[in-house]
Each structure stands twice: as C-alpha cells, then as structure tokens.
C-alpha cells in the first residue's frame, strides 16, 4: 500500500489516466452538439485543472488551520507546497481558458465571472508568495502565511459570488444540479481526466514535500556545522 502511494507510483497513475482521458475524449466521446463543437474538447483538461487548483488551495487552508493549532512547521511546508502547485494550476486554468475563449467567443480575454475569479486568485496567492519572502524568522513567516492562506481561501467563493453583480457573463454552465448535461461517454472520459489530474496533484504535493523536507534538513545541518 505504501509503495502504491509513493510519488513515482502516483505520477505513473496520473500519466496513465491523463493519457487515457485524452484518448477517450478525442476518439470515444462525440463532438459537442452545441455551438462549441470541437473546441469543447479542451473542457476535458480545462475543468479538471480548475477543480484541482481549488482543491490545492483547500489543502493549504486546512494545513494553515492545522499549523495555527499545533505550531508544527510540517503543516507550513504542506501549505507552502500546495499553494505553489495551486498557483501553477491557476495559471494553467487561465491559459487553457483563454484558448477556449478564443475558439468559442473569438476573444482571448473576456471579463467573465470564472476567468476573472481565477485572475484574482492568481493575484491573491502571488501576494502570499510576496508575504513569505519579506519575513525572515521561520515561525513568524509560517504564522503570517497561515493567517493569509485562511483569509484568501475564504475570499475565493465570495469573489466568485461578487462577480455575479457584474454585467452578464459568457462562460457555459456545463454541469448543473440534477442533470450532468453530458452523454455517458463524455462523462466517463471527463471523470478519468479528473482522476488523473487529482492523482497528479497528490503526486506533485508528495514530491515537493520531500524536497522541502530535504531543504530544511540541509539548512539544519549547515547550522549545526557552524556555517
């Protein structure tokens, strides 16, 4: 079991699911009947990336609460790693969203609720990074970062809700409550991609955590050697 959850095994699982999801999306799932047509294929990657980015920030939120309760730096490392990967995924969401936007609306950028929310998410978590870089002491940096990660995560759904006050958006609502709105072949392809992307997130978090732990150990060794 432990071996199955090691970073290399997770990477392999993620790779298999992502490739399988892509093959199924192109060869099994039918082209979308709506006006989106072929460009809808990007949905099999775009939406899983978006959901995984939010999942990563959720992990960071939980880690921040755990850190504030325990003052154990291992939770700070988990938060740091999750936010780094979440930020990377958010940038990918914007890039894939822009590609879709160009195909669907013939515009690279639209001030549309979801796209705008992700843009703000990028700014928020980039600010997290700036905050970390200007505090020298370990415990204090971890505490401030945790406070900010909590506030930022609470702000994300509120921002999304607030963008509803702006004039009408363009983003298609694909999955609605009660009705998945997709054929079963589309749904299966989508869920496989989703699983692959989630596995990729877990694998990346695991590997990055190991790297951060090693970094901390090197720093400790250096200090104990008087360097």
């Amino acid at each position: 079991m432990k071996k199955l959850l090691s970073a290399p095994a997770l990477f392999a699982g993620a790779g298999i699911c992502l490739i399988a999801g892509l093959l199924l999306a192109f060869w099994w799932a039918p082209a979308d009947a709506s006006s989106m047509g072929f460009s809808q294929k990007i949905f099999y990657y775009h939406a899983p990336i978006a959901e995984v980015a939010l999942l990563a920030f959720g992990v960071a939120f939980a880690a921040a609460i755990a850190y504030l309760r325990t003052q154990n730096l291992k939770w700070d490392r988990l938060g740091l790693v999750s936010i780094r990967i979440g930020l990377l995924f958010s940038i990918l969401v914007m890039l894939t969203g822009m590609i879709w936007g160009k195909a669907a609306w013939d515009a690279w950028w639209a001030w549309e609720p979801r796209l705008t929310t992700f843009l703000l998410v990028c700014f928020l978590y980039a600010a997290y990074w700036v905050l970390r870089s200007v505090v020298d002491e370990d415990q204090r940096r971890a505490t401030y970062a945790a406070v900010f990660a909590i506030i930022a995560f609470i702000d994300v759904p509120i921002t999304f809700f607030a963008t509803r006050f702006l004039p009408e958006g363009l983003h298609p609502v694909v999955i609605q409550a009660g009705d998945s709105g997709m054929e079963s072949s589309m749904l299966v392809s989508f869920l496989i991609s989703m699983l692959g992307m989630t596995l990729l997130l877990v694998a990346l978090i695991r590997r990055d955590l190991e790297i951060e732990e090693l970094k901390d150990r090197v720093t400790d060794l250096k200090t104990s050697l008087g360097g």
Partner: protein, 228 residues
C-alpha cells in the same frame, strides 16, 4: 477593567493622538480632494463627455487608496514609538485591540468621507440623490466596515515584515475586490439612476455577509497576526 472599558481606552488613545497632531487626517483629506481633481483631468477627453457611470468607481478607488495611506500611517506610529509593545504587555485581550483599532480606522474613514462626499457631489454629480440618502449611507458604512476590518488585520501583519507599507496594498487590494464590486455598483446606481433599498438589497446583504465573515475570520486569527 472590562473588555468594553479597554476597548474605549484604546480607541480614545488613538483618537486623541490623531487630534493632537492631525497629520494623518489632514494628509488623507488633501489626498482625497487631490485625487478628485486628478480624476477630472484624467477623464476630460472630450467636451461634455458623460462621466455618470464612472462616478461610483472614482469614489471608491479614492477611498480605498486613502485608506491604504491611513492604515500604514496608523501602524507605523505604533511601531516606531514602541506603543504596540506597551499595549501587548498590558493584560488586554488581543481581540479587543483588533476591535478598537478597527473602530479607530473606521472613524477616520468616516471623517474623510464626511468631507469628501459633498465635494465629490458638487464636482461630479448632476442628478440630486437626496431621496436615496438612506441606502447610500448604508452601503457606505457596510463597505467601510469590511475595508477597515481586513485592512487592520493585514496592516498588523505587514508592519511586522521587512517591506512594511509596501506590502499592504498587495495583500489588501485583491481581497477587497468583492467589496469594490458591490459598493461601486450600488453607488453608481444611486448616482446615475436613483435606486432605492429594494433594488440594492442583494448588494447590501452581500456587503453585510462580507463584513460578518471577515470580522469573524479576523477575530479568529488576530491573535496570531499581532504576535508575541
């Protein structure tokens, strides 16, 4: 001393200190007035161009930037004169410090708005919105509370970092975008078309929810933000 007495004492200290020197209030008011003049020149591209639908945005951008100045200033003094160390040595609940600081910042913002809003109306608003003053004040107050609560929490964090006042806008601005969206929309509707409580209800409830969520969140985390 009870919590309420401590709250009043800290708030009183902040108000007296500001009223003795007046350096923060005077600069903030001058900044707000200057910003309006700058907006006028920045947007004067064509004779008779209609600025009506930009007025809410102009007003809130001005207030938010003025607040950034004020927040940095209020904590810089605390830090430089080691006042905060003294405050932390007192047997005072950290949450009381947060609430008193937030209330102080809110009062300063309201004083500035009391000067700025009439001047802004004189400069930019052609329609009379006298009948919509009640929803206008509600929106103003609710948005101010949200900005001050988050601003106080984040100013406390940023003053303890190496870059100090440089950090605050980067942390605060993305977080208060929801307030900006709701408040700008509501004030623009009041200025441009005249909107009653009914029309603005969802925005007002949204601002109320925002304030409640972040007051609780700041309440829960301020202990950690202010440090030992």
């Amino acid at each position: 001393m009870t919590g309420w007495a401590q709250f009043k004492a800290i708030l009183r200290k902040d108000l007296i200190r500001e009223l003795r020197t007046r350096d923060m209030l005077v600069s903030m008011i001058l900044f707000v007035l200057l910003a309006m003049v700058i907006f006028h020149y920045a947007f004067s591209v064509k004779a008779g161009a209609d600025l009506t639908y930009f007025t809410g945005g102009m007003l809130w951008v001005t207030f938010i930037f003025a607040m950034l100045l004020g927040l940095n200033r209020s904590f810089a003094q605390e830090k430089d004169e080691h006042c905060l160390d003294g405050l932390l040595l007192c047997p005072v609940d950290r949450v009381t410090i947060f609430l008193a600081k937030t209330a102080g910042n809110l009062i300063f913002l309201l004083i500035i708005q009391a000067v700025a809003v009439p001047v802004f109306t004189l400069f930019f608003i052609e329609r009379s919105y006298f009948g919509d003053l009640l929803p206008f004040f509600i929106v103003l107050l609710l948005a101010d509370v949200g900005i001050c609560a988050l601003g106080t929490l984040l100013a406390t964090i940023s003053m303890n970092t190496r870059s100090r006042d440089l950090l605050l806008p980067i942390l605060l601005l993305p977080l208060i975008v929801p307030v900006l969206i709701a408040a700008t929309g509501a004030t623009t509707l009041i200025f441009a078309e005249g909107a009653g409580l009914g029309e603005l209800l969802t925005r007002i409830l949204f601002l109320l929810g925002f304030d409640a969520v972040f007051l609780v969140a700041a309440w829960g985390t301020y202990d950690f933000a202010i440090g030992e």
